[in-house]
Amino acid sequence: MKVLRAVVLVMIAGAVALTVPNGSVNAEQKVLKIGVLGVMSGPAASWGLVNRYCAETSAQLINEQGGWPIGGEKYRIEVASIDDRNDPKVSVAGAERLAYHDKIKYIIGPNVDTTAAAIVPVMEKAKAINIPYAFSKSLYTPPRSNSILGMIASYQAGPVIYKYLKTQKGVRSVSFIARNESDPLNQRTEGVAAAKALGLTVASSEDTYEPGTSDFTPVMSRVVRQNADLIVLSGVAPADETAQDAKILNEVASKAANGFISVGGASTPEIRSEYMDRFVQRYTKVAGEWNDEAGTKVYALEMILRTLSLAGPKAIADVDAFKKAIPLFQVQNPFLKEAKMLKFVGAAYFSQPRQIGVPMVVNVFEDGKFRTLFIGSVE
């Protein structure tokens, strides 16, 4: 009987030991929780899931190194994710849960204008910061100050790409097609204005399609008939229509997709740093396969943590300290091979630096792979 009891005790002790990661060091280690709020189901699931996978990947890599240093102490990073189903009501409930129940001050997401606008009051009341992937300027312009745009907006990338295509490729006319939702329609409107300002002929801009459309032949036939040199797809959902992912383009269209241009963050192998390569490998383990869209989404968690390191431990609970550090923050971009500075930008658009300075990596699809056309900047 004693032998049996001893065996049971040893087994329990072993099980307990296995469930405590890294032994006694982690038992006393402080935890920094980061929220991810976004659409993780339905046709646009890719948007929020890539955010979540990026945050989880970065957290794993950081925790394996013992945690993230803030004020001389290393913090273990925990990620709490909530699917808002692209529904503003669910997004508000999710933001409240993260901010009040989980006491999280830094949230990555949401993904579109409607959900991002819906949680602004929650962020302000709870004194939390969020990093949306929505382009509405009002989210980032004073008196708003708690949201930081996590990527490059279409009204920033569009004119740069149109200008490049006009001067380098002789593009003279452009047609627009947009998903029939507020975000893509706004992007389309701003894209049309940018194209006109550059002197391009807008062949058509009224064509839209419903979310969930699977057969694009009838929709695109109208657009192709306009015979424009360039067709702009405003607000495409990665999982729903086409993709910013080379593998999908290869599967769906193969060589017919040659010439497809998209904006990435640090996706293509020729520009990635070793740090980014490690991230890509780990992301592949976390998500099952690499997604080129993650080249843009990789920045959010790093920017939060690096700014917290600059602002000091006080900023973990006090976002005002974080905000004060924003204009001072500047580091070498850890994801790029080439020496480029990474900082908060957007003052020219929002009257304050409320945008992550993700490099504008303009890629073109050629024979199964993306190739970087040029690297621009929001500034």
Binding site: S41, G42, P43, A44, A45, S46, L49, V50, I177, N180, E206, D207, T208, Y209, E210, P211, G212, T213, S214, D215, T217, P218, V219, S221, R222, P238, A239, D240, E241, T242, A243, D245, K247, I248, E251, V252, A253, S254, A287, G288, E289, N291
Partner: protein, 278 residues
């Protein structure tokens, strides 16, 4: 016509299940998605013959349909006469399949290499060869389904249940067995439609709900539970979409289609071929 034939395959499955069980299968779109993914993996990833992959798609989804019928719907239909119970169950199975698809297949759009590459120039139109193949296969499958329903013993049994299940039971039709068969055949049609259309439209885990909504529109137009009505509804919707998208900017097309369906149902709630008494 091409679009209509594809839609008919989807609508036939949902109307068959409704006819024999009185269940609006909200998971039909998700079954279509599952069929698309099976073809994607077998044909697109593992290089299996396309027609074998198509067969596997229909068999896999038929097995899923059979499991749902045997484990869920049969019991609920036995213990309750409230229609909302089966509707809630159907909505639950749709959510289950939707979530499972996302977990198992991931968030990405998936496509396969073209089965029939090239484009035909017919009069003044360019028709992709892949779409012609889908059209021919869809027509063949619809024909086979109609022959099965008309001339085989199980087909006659299914039609008997659809017309009057009590009378069918009194005539010796095993209701449980034939309902299971009907659910499996209906699901298999969704699976084969998914396998066919993944070659042209690609597929993603979130594509099920829009497909289900379209399937409901088709059977509402044609008449729920009527096989010929499903085909007619599919052709009407296919034509309306193709013509609308060609002449009117995108989103206005579906707005007009939905307004048309509402007005039509106000005057003829049973659909074109449906019976007013149910």
């Amino acid at each position: 016509m091409i679009l209509g034939a594809n839609y008919a395959l989807i609508a036939l499955g949902i109307t068959l299940i409704f006819a024999i069980m009185g269940v609006l299968n909200f998971a039909h779109g998700e079954m279509y998605v599952l069929g698309g993914f099976v073809t994607y993996y077998l044909y697109g990833r593992f290089g299996l013959n396309y027609f074998l992959a198509l067969l596997a798609s229909s068999a896999t989804v038929a097995a899923v349909g059979l499991a749902f019928e045997r484990l869920c719907f049969r019991r609920v239909l036995r213990i309750t006469t409230r229609e909302e119970s089966t509707m809630l169950l159907a909505a639950g199975t749709a959510l289950l399949l939707d979530s499972l698809s996302l977990v198992v297949f991931g968030e990405k759009q998936r496509g396969v290499p073209p089965v029939a590459p090239g484009v035909y120039h017919v009069f003044n139109a360019f028709v992709p060869a892949g779409r012609v193949l889908i059209f021919v296969l869809a027509l063949g499958l619809i024909g086979a389904f109609l022959l099965f329903m008309q001339y085989t013993r199980p087909g006659r049994g299914l039609r008997a249940i659809a017309q009057d299940k009590e009378a069918a039971a009194l005539m010796g039709v095993n209701l449980d067995r034939y309902r299971a068969l009907g659910f499996a055949v209906g699901a298999a049609l969704a699976g084969v439609a998914g396998g066919l259309l993944v070659t042209e439209f690609a597929v993603n885990a979130g594509a099920g709900t829009p497909i289900s909504i379209k399937a409901f529109i088709m059977i509402m137009i044609g008449g729920a539970g009527v096989v010929s009505g499903a085909i007619l509804g599919a052709v009407v919707l296919g034509f309306a979409e193709a013509v609308g998208y060609f002449f009117i900017p995108g989103s206005v097309t579906y707005l007009l289609i939905l307004i048309g369906v509402i007005v039509f149902l106000v005057f003829r709630p049973q659909g074109i071929m449906g019976r007013p008494w149910g």
